[in-house]
């Protein structure tokens, strides 16, 4: 058995399998720890019925944050790789730098920036964009904090390094002689990008999508601090089921549903593309 498979088995498959009996159980008492296995498949149906919309919302937010992150990350990675020159290590360091501070502290800092009296809304108002942004639903009654937009922005900024780094790595692997050859054959810069850089950087794109979509779908901090009660994500629900409602079997069922969906997304992403191609940093 390869080390990779052992790793997957020990740290991914086994913990999840251990949840399966719990997810089919019932608590013996309201405040006790004991549960009894009853093969209660209804736990799954109940959590899907009660929390299905939040599950959909979570993947929606994660997908939007990843898409927005890609729009930001791709040009950034391109600039670092092809325009960075001797500043390249420094630029990569700057991309990673925010990740060195606490995830929690960053979310809390965003609450100041996105608040009703904060600089972002002041800028939006100064540009006369409050009305239009409200009309398209990016602001809620002129507010930004405690909206879906704030949650997605928070997720995006947190995910950026996970998108930029695989892209830089993938672009690093592009042989500069290919670009020279394209130029020698009179390819325009745009054609050079479309026919050389883009196809060769796609493995980085795939890796980045995986590395950002997975943590984003299970994020608990951004919806808690930056969202409102209409913007909660599925991890908040699981936390509430486990720690507040003391419904461990239902929390386990919902966790397994979430993990199954994430696994499905990963498999779809890997389909048609060998995992060995992914330039994971």
């Amino acid at each position: 058995m390869s080390p990779g498979l052992l790793w997957l088995l020990g740290l991914y498959a086994l913990p999840l399998l251990a949840l399966v009996p719990l997810s089919l159980s019932e608590p013996l008492s309201r405040f006790g720890l004991e549960t009894v296995f009853r093969g209660r498949v209804a736990n799954y149906l109940e959590v899907l019925q009660a929390h299905g919309p939040i599950l959909v919302r979570s993947f929606g937010y994660a997908g939007l944050a990843t898409a927005l992150g890609l729009v930001l990350a791709y040009p950034l990675a391109y600039a670092i790789r092809f325009r960075g020159g001797r500043w390249q290590p420094l630029l990569i360091g700057l991309v990673v730098l925010p990740s060195l501070s606490s995830y929690l502290v960053r979310a809390i800092a965003w609450t100041s920036l996105l608040g009703d009296q904060g600089p972002v809304l002041a800028l939006v108002a100064a540009l006369g964009l409050t009305g239009p942004l409200d009309a398209v639903g990016l602001l809620r009654d002129g507010r930004l904090l405690n909206t879906a937009t704030a949650v997605i922005l928070g997720l995006t900024t947190n995910l950026l390094p996970f998108l930029v780094l695989p892209l830089v790595v993938a672009m690093e692997r592009i042989d500069p002689r290919l670009l020279e050859a394209a130029a020698d054959l009179h390819a325009s810069p745009w054609r050079c990008f479309v026919q050389v850089v883009w196809p060769l950087s796609r493995p980085g794109l795939s890796a980045g999508i995986l590395l950002s979509l997975i943590p984003a779908a299970g994020d608990v901090v951004n919806p808690l601090f930056l969202g409102g009660p209409n913007d909660r994500m599925i991890a908040n629900t699981i936390e509430n089921l486990l720690l507040v409602q003391l419904q461990a079997p239902r929390a386990a069922a919902l966790t397994l549903v979430l993990m199954a969906l994430i696994t499905l997304a990963v498999l779809l992403q890997l389909r048609g593309r060998g995992a060995q191609e992914l330039p994971l940093p």
Binding site: R30, A50, R57, L104, S112, V244
Partner: protein, 395 residues
Amino acid sequence: MAAPSSPGRPGGGAASGRGRRAFLRRLAWGASGAVLAPSLLQACGQGPKGHAGDGGGELVISTFPLYIDPGQPGAPGSVARFRTDTGISLRYVEDINDVRQFFARIQPQLAAGRPLAQDLVVLTGWMAERLIRLGWLEPLPLAQVPNARNLIPSLRQPSWDPQQRYSLPWQSGIAGIAYNIKATGRELRGIDDLFDPALKGRVSALLEMRDTMALLMLADGKDITRPTWAAAQPSFDRLEQARRDGQIRRFTGNDYQNDLLSGNLAACMGWSGDVAQLALEQPDLRFLVPESGGILWADVMVMPRGARHRREVAEWLNWVYDPIEAARIAAAVQYISPVEGVQQVLAKDPATAALARNPLMFPDAAERQRLHSFGPLSDAEEARWEERFARITEG
């Protein structure tokens, strides 16, 4: 009663500067939360010296953040003074964010009959009642606490501990409405004002289910001393609709303080001591006991089963029930002190005399008539209530 995905009843932060203070408050809330930092004390049932349940000669207290007078340069806070006065090594840990989440953290050890690292824990009255019922608390060593006689009459023989064997109140307070008069543009009078469309998106309710539901039920004219599922439905419906419509911006613990200070909220459900504190920084803030009535709550000190340091616990209880020490704490946290004589101590000092006249700290008989306590819920009822409430607060 304290905050659900929230911090405890806060007290006086020493930080200066509104933004910094708000940031530090929120950080204290986040850091103490089970979100990211489950208590290390609970992590493996070990005390500071690594012996299961043995505090290693050290008195360990778990409580809410910012719930005691902080130390200042040249003026040590209560924790430091207690250590000096008694020579007892005290570890005062502000690691309780939400009593329900704290319960989930201590549940595995107590259910398995293993002691916690803590000798004393500050919890809400209703949570103390649950722990008493489960047999997870030790009777307090009240024979060694002569100052316990200073407990104010209104908190004696409480519903959660009728024999007063397992708990002594830490602080008491009122749940009501906090608002910024400049943001609302008018004085508020009752719960209905929180549903005013003019305040849409600038209102919050509490994650503490009992406080939020009790305030709403009182406004609906319901009896909260004997709460029933049927009587609560209109209030649940009203809350759910307000959440859906975006009238309610957030459900909060103590973190509504930051939003009130920073202008994100115009009005909210809140706790009296918080607002008294905040009003020192922001004079436009008001606290209101709604026309329909406010909620009287109490946080209590309890000793988990298997606590090792009974003598030290008795020393602490006796020390904080001394009116002079209690007055120092009360002056910082500005809740209703459970200790008789605090009002007189505060009145004697010109620096604190105004506090002695504060009706939120020392409500008179007429004001007390307007305060109500939420009655008990059976286990099954509580589960039902929690589930519906979570559906509303968690979207």
